[in-house]
Symmetry: D2
């Protein structure tokens, strides 16, 4: 149950089978830092090429293909006082017929006040001077080495996780990834101070963070997609295009999870999902969109756990 | 401000420019009944062909193309003690690769206890005997006559409303429809006692209702899609396929609404949406899918209203 | 086997159960005229509102729901010397990221030379002065009244036909529509002098025509989508979004057709389609996209016919 | 202009920056062999894991990011007398509602007669005993190392090429790939003896080949997607989901190509595409679908070339 402190000196713009920066054990936690999506650190210095440079990978002793690697985000502390977004909204989330009327997308700077818990534009026009959003940190991109020895750009996502940009993946959330390579090889980065559903600006409020996470290994879980848990919710997240596809994948994996953990058949699991399912559009901007299939924790879901039935 | 009591004797399986069953004035309310999606009434008698038969249309004095017809769902009382669903889940919400493994979709009966506020399977297996869902009535299909003299099947939806199957359209919600025909011609039906996101079973818990609604006319609003309001939320709902398309339409209309009512430009409106937007998958089953673009009411959204700036 | 001459005096912007303009018998042919998509006739006079005004409907004696109405396009003669298009391409067929760089879509005029068999811009810049395209007339929008008493805008398409905008639907082609209403109620219009795949400019070269067509009734065919035949091809056309959906519908109906007419099972029919199928993107512009699933006529397909096995 | 003979001894199931098996020069040709999609060679021996194992990569002297690597498929000779497919059709190309009615997908064996130029089922039922398809070899999967040091599964495709499964990529075709890594790093495999549009069975007739190809390097072409040329056609191929997306990408790149090589603006290029474009559904089975945007060679396209204007 070691608590490691790891200061990264190099970063990766792909998630794949790369040399590990640190070996850790199931139960350990790590305090480290992440760059922003453009490769900038707490001092505003560019330390890696733009495009979600990752801290890691962390090798987890004993992790093998077929296992689940549970990662709990213990804490995310912004380590600088500014972030940035793009505006107006990304072309893909608007009616194509109006795109020609919009101004060019440009970068905007934001002030992050960790004490006050607010995120505000640095230089707003008078009419929106009072606009303020609650600080709600989340990890945009994190995951494990994918199958077949692939190395996949941190611009996109898949069964290995990656650039999911899901606003519920903040402090307190646990995500279970399907391990595909020896040691799992966990990467993280691309923190956001705040983000709506879908990452429809093409960014959250992008900034650098100090992050503490903890890992736990569960053998032979054979997950097909990442599963997650918050204080109040159970969820599966999946990736693809159009939005229909990750919704199909996430729903199918949730049906499987319900069946396995509650010991019910597909018809019974369908009753639960049909009456109680919730969907979140995690991102509708990246090359692969992500949809989360959620169930609020309740008397019915008591038997479901990221840790399996074992 | 008349409160009408209207007992339907005929129903429509399209939404279009049909002879009105009653003329009402802006501010009036109507107490009426709706059949379930299969055409069955409170006694279990089939009164119309299956496929969301509608009560209506109601002609609203003075309504003209370009106006907004606001409909508030004042009350929905189930008028029988049973409902039905299909299970397992609809093929379109699952990974096509697993469909061959699932049993055939069949009808299941549910008990609706309006006093206890619960919905339960009538004949559950022992292992799910304790499953109970909260009664949460909603109107699956309602709307106004569409443009160009069209008559559109109640299986589908569009800018006129129709079969949106959105679980937030229950008691207390107000929906503003873009009027396209003289009198607006409002239809309603297809009530559900309960339904998760997306109507992924292809049904909610389908039953018949006594419904009370109130109408309000706002001149010259030129809505492109239905807008809505609940106690805590502002929203736009749009229809299309794949899910990306109604998301684009709803986001574009919300951007327009923010701009008009808050007097901000597209860049500023994008800041709000980028950090605060929520999406709901209303239905991902019908010929046209529906997505709602939502904003929680806040200090920022105070100036926004279904009733326009006028 | 009467050859009717019908001069329209009114037009419809929906396809639905409207009063017939003429009753004809199976085997009859009709010589008539069609307006262009903007409602303009051979003299350049606007005779109906824009949006694919239709000539018809023609009532075919004895046609009942479940029958197939075969329509052969015998001849299409442009009846004026000009047509028009829009340019640049429609937003929906381009990468959303470049749309802001394109000029506004505007109307362009073309010269149609029926004798030379050419279509050319009326006022080209010097560098494209020599560009000429072969005259290849086609009907953009035609079909029969849809099911359930619907009246559907001529902007879109469905199982009833409608605005399919498929370039193979020109002289010599026969299309079999699934009859849904008494008399079938056949409508036609929206002729193009020339059009590439997908109608990606949002138009073909739009103009008015003299059209001769012939109808043939086949009882109890229970088609799910229109089927078609040219001198060298058999095809099914279907509508939906995204393109994946009409491709699925058309492939499924083609699988059914092969099974019925060749007496093979789904595995055998799949061998034929897997090795020999062709797809055409008919339109990727309208509210519903259309895809055709085609088989070149061959020794294998000899037993397949629009006229069924009866 | 060397003609290399290369006998592979190892294979790759990703396309990425791997150690080269041979360095060749622009203008050189290579005679080599490819395994079938399941990793089986001319003797039926499994030489690599299933999933499109690749021969290569070939390092092309002087190739740098921004260049175009032109690959001409000079010859494809099946080097065994059998191939295989799956049947019935892939779930993703059929209406989800009928999938439960279809038998399980199974492997079927085919006889390939290179002399007769035919492909036939090895053990057909009597009723399809006479079915025969023309031998029409094509490379299903080939391409160059992708950007950012990625290593991408040969199950899928992208701007680097990969598993495009396009039936026009057979002998005589030239494909220009955007070089992203030093030496380009060209891989090839997954030959099909025959395949319809879309690879809708999830396979062509999969077999092993002797392949001869020739490479040519063109400096600084900055292609965004692979471009291709056959004796009669010019084309761009792109990848994504749903089909709408690769159609958008391919059309956008074709618009760019026309503009660059013919010296016309976007409005003029749109006239050409609007009247003359053709689309092919290359594959609608793999994780990324591929669509080709084609123009038949004509007087208008004379100035267009894979080799650029230089």
């Amino acid at each position: 149950m070691t608590r490691h402190h790891f200061q990264p000196t190099q970063y990766a713009n792909v998630i794949g089978t790369l040399p590990a920066v640190l070996e850790i054990a199931s139960g350990d936690s790590v305090v480290t830092t992440t760059l922003d999506a453009a490769g900038t650190d707490h001092d505003g210095a560019q330390k890696a090429p733009r495009g979600n440079p990752m801290t890691g990978p962390f090798f987890v002793t004993g992790a093998e293909p077929g296992d689940a690697l549970l990662v709990t985000i213990e804490r995310m502390t912004p380590n600088r006082a500014t972030g940035w977004t793009y505006s107006p909204l990304a072309p893909g989330v608007l009616d194509p017929a109006i795109l020609a009327e919009l101004p060019k997308r440009e970068r905007h700077e934001w002030a992050i006040d960790a004490k006050a818990g607010t995120v505000k534009l640095l230089d707003p026009s008078p009419r929106i001077r009072d606009w303020s959003f609650p600080l709600a940190p989340m990890l945009g991109c994190f995951g494990v080495a994918p199958e077949r020895g692939q190395a996949i750009s941190t611009a996109t996502s898949g069964a290995h996780g990656g650039n999911m940009d899901y606003r519920l993946f903040g402090p307190g959330a646990t995500v279970a990834f399907p391990v595909q390579a020896e040691g799992g090889l966990f990467f993280l980065g691309d923190g956001h101070a705040c983000q709506g559903d879908g990452e429809i600006a093409g960014t959250g409020v992008e900034t650098s963070f100090e992050v503490e996470f903890r890992v736990e290994l569960r053998k032979r879980q054979r997950l097909l997609w990442p599963r997650g848990e918050t204080q109040t919710e159970l969820l599966v997240i999946a990736a693809g295009r159009p939005l229909d596809q990750p919704l199909q994948f996430a729903t199918t994996e949730m049906l499987r999870w319900i069946g396995e953990d509650l010991g019910v058949d597909a018809v019974e699991a369908s009753h639960l999902l049909g009456q109680a399912v919730r969907y979140d559009v995690a991102n509708v901007f990246n090359p692969a969109y992500c949809v989360a299939c959620r169930l609020e924790k309740s008397a019915i879901t008591q038997g479901m756990s990221l840790r399996g039935k074992g």
